[in-house]
């Protein structure tokens, strides 16, 4: 690695001889506990290994993420970790990093182009499958189903919906009575669910594409007094929804522990920088969480 005068000057105040490793983390959004946990995991990984970590927040806008990546690349990074807003749109940013010869790891969502040294993430279609299969199991393949989708036009929302509907479509006893979007947002999901409850005297199963929405839907369902009739599954396994599972309010969620995603991405990056071999494609397991395993599941460390 060639020495860099400017950064030396800047770091001289710290009085360190060895150059600290710099890693950039471009997050798609931080307006969501899931991703906040991703970045917290990454921060933990960085702190444990004395890595300087720069985090940006693209606020769910692919073009902002492009900007963020360009700005991060001005900092002579050793490695760039990207949680893409969108698989297609991120390609250009990755190519920019490739030009500057900064190695890239993608997490959560894979990129559809550009050169990455590795991808680590969850399979959102698979996650949707799990949710569908869970409802099939619990409802014995028969019932009226509601789907609450995430932010329209984003990969995850699309893929989870796709995975969920793959199962629902082939289950003859299922009738989807409502498919609406609540933008991964709790307050919005509550409102949408309130309206769905008004329109449908019978609802048997609800899939909310993340836990925030599941918790919003839960508020509406509870208020309508129909908690017992309805099977509710979310996704993410965030703490409040685990509690709701313990309290028998939500039946299930799907664990894609974000903390470890962030942490492992940093660790894997360090391995790469140390010249070790790493896997190119690591799909972390999405686990169904129900009352049975809710107390054994580990979603983060302190």
């Amino acid at each position: 690695q060639k020495p860099n005068d400017t950064s030396k000057e800047k770091d001289s105040s710290k009085d360190t001889e060895t150059k600290q490793i710099k890693i950039g983390l471009s997050m798609n959004t931080l307006n969501n506990p899931f991703f906040v946990d991703v970045s917290n995991g990454a921060k933990k990984g960085a702190k444990d290994n004395d890595v300087e970590l720069f985090v940006t927040d693209a606020q769910n806008q692919p073009s902002k993420q492009q900007t963020d990546v360009e700005n991060l690349l001005q900092k002579d990074l050793d490695l760039l970790i990207i949680d893409p807003c969108d698989s297609d749109a991120i390609v250009a940013a990755i190519e920019t990093a490739n030009e500057k010869e900064v190695p890239v790891i993608t997490i959560d969502r894979a990129a559809k182009g550009g050169e990455v040294i590795a991808h680590m993430g969850f399979d959102a279609v698979h996650s949707g499958n799990i949710a569908g299969e869970f409802l099939v199991d619990v409802l014995k393949g028969k019932g009226k189903i509601v789907e609450i989708m995430g932010i329209m036009g984003t990969n995850v929302a699309q893929d989870r919906s796709k995975g969920f509907n793959e199962i629902v479509d082939k289950t003859e006893g299922f009738e989807v009575v409502a498919t609406q979007s609540a933008n991964f947002d709790r307050a919005e999901a509550m409102k949408v669910m309130e309206n769905i409850l008004q329109a449908n005297a019978e609802i048997d199963g609800v899939y909310a594409a993340n836990d925030e929405m599941a918790l919003g839907a839960l508020e509406a369902i509870e208020a309508s007094g129909r908690l017992d009739e309805i099977v509710l599954i979310g996704c993410d396994a965030i703490d409040p929804s685990l509690e709701a599972i313990r309290a028998d309010k939500i039946e299930a969620t799907i664990a894609e522990p974000p903390f470890f995603l962030g942490k492992n991405a940093v660790l894997m990056g360090l391995d790469y920088l140390n010249g070790e071999e790493i896997d190119e494609n690591i799909i972390l397991d999405s686990t169904l969480v129900t009352k049975e395993n809710v107390d054994t599941i580990v979603t983060k460390e302190e």
Partner: protein, 319 residues
Amino acid sequence: MNLKKIGLKLLTKYRTVSVLVLILIIATCLSNSFLTFNNLLNIIRQVSIIAIIASGMTFVILTGGIDLSVGSIVAISGALSAYTLINTNSVILAIIVALVVGSICGTFNGIIITKGNLPPFIATLAVMTFVRGFVLVFTNGSPIAARLKAYNFIGKGYLFGIPFPIIILIVIFAIGFFILKYTAFGRSVFSIGGNREATRLSGINVKKVETLVYTISGLLAGLTGLILTARLGSAQPTAGKGYELDAIAAVILGGTSLSGGQGAIIPTVFGALILGVLDNILVLIDVNPFASDIVKGFVILLAVLADSKFKSVSSKLDE
């Protein structure tokens, strides 16, 4: 004046209500679940969030201003209120915190706009960004749970069979109506919007009134933050995003002019209801969520077109 003319006159005088009624009729035809007592209460409760913000926005817009920061104020008041609740277990304190925080933010808007002589649009845009950042830092991007029966009552409770937020809504609009009609302050709000300089020259402390108007808007955004948090049982860092546009739309649908000086507060609630009914019926008939924006945009367009048409008819009927 014959009956037809009287009818037309009423119709055009209560333009927003007329448009709303039209939408109600169509909605009733579209879904059996629409015109039920429960669903109507449900709609009004949902609408109360935007309507309360919009009532404060009406004051601001009447003076010729605008307040883009309300959404962020909803979030910060909710977050600080929830924080207070879990740390003190005092519902009263949690309520006060929400209202005070909202008022402070609003007053800050008012002061920078009047003392700094800033265009309200950009000033409140800056505050919107600023406060949102503060919420994120404060909450560290994660919701704060706020569960305590008495507290949650504010958002979820019923009084005489009516959801509590609806009661708050009614009280707020009654007070708002009263202030605009029966206080010197209210009178000045209209007159500042009509002609700021002439109002100043009439001995009215224009800057004070303007500041107060933003305080009111902030206070009501704070109240909304409280209701929303109490309702959800959790303060969301993203709460209130985009509410400013909905609130402004409600005010304009209510016939208040963005250039100030002309309008009224009661129709604002009907403006908000138009938006709320739309959201409700689109879900009731399960319109594809992708397409629902198309329908929504289209109906808003028709509503303002109808409003503008009614207005021109009404000016012809005058005198």
